[in-house]
């Protein structure tokens, strides 16, 4: 099982902050995203936005990063702190 988190504007647009996703691992973030979109076709435009950032286990990651069972993956828009 993979925990998938959404933050900020993305969280609001999807209307959910967290989903739990059962999928064969290991797989890349890109494959995970494809699997999520398959299950939630309405999310496609949000989850394929170019400027979306990715974290795996709370470390900034890439669309090619490998994910294993038990990992926490997060998608979020560009940061605007300070």
């Amino acid at each position: 099982m993979i925990k998938v988190l959404f933050f900020a504007s993305l969280r609001e647009r999807l209307g959910v902050d967290k989903i739990e996703f059962i999928v064969d691992t290991p797989l890349s973030v890109m494959d995970l995203r494809l699997a999520i979109i398959k299950q939630h076709p309405a999310w496609e435009s949000e989850l394929t936005k170019k400027n979306l950032l990715i974290a795996v286990n709370k470390e900034q990651s890439h669309i090619e990063s490998l994910i294993h069972t038990g990992d926490e993956v997060a998608f979020f828009p560009p940061v605007t702190g300070g």
Partner: protein, 153 residues
Amino acid sequence: MNLSLSIQADDFNLQDEYQRLLESDNLSGAIVTFVGRVRDLSVDKKIAGLFLEYYPGMTEKALDNILQEAAKRFRINAARIIHRVGQLNGLDQIVFVGVTSVHREDAFAAAEFIMDYLKNQAPFWKKEITESGDSWVETKDKDKKLFERWGEK
């Protein structure tokens, strides 16, 4: 090396943070602080306030990475980051960075480096709260440029 960070809803006091930085530091002759404030929202009557969201666990990690990286790049003795989250009003203090060093050029460079990285790398998201609904603040390209000047290391 005294590196510390705090993500908090509460306000902070510059003097307290300054004294904390120097608490067990008899080496540093140069202390640089940066305070960021929310801009004056009263000029834009529609905005009632800000809301800061973060990613518990990851945001702390990101701030700690920034501090570690600053300590690697510059000759510093102590550094601290405070970032506020939750509801904030116009002119509220939102971020503090403090650095101590023997060398003033390192204290300045490290403080500026931390701010540039924080603006680009730390998972915080700002939302403007208005009567007609909320709107998320977009990233500024300017911050990206300021960030990129430090290069990879």
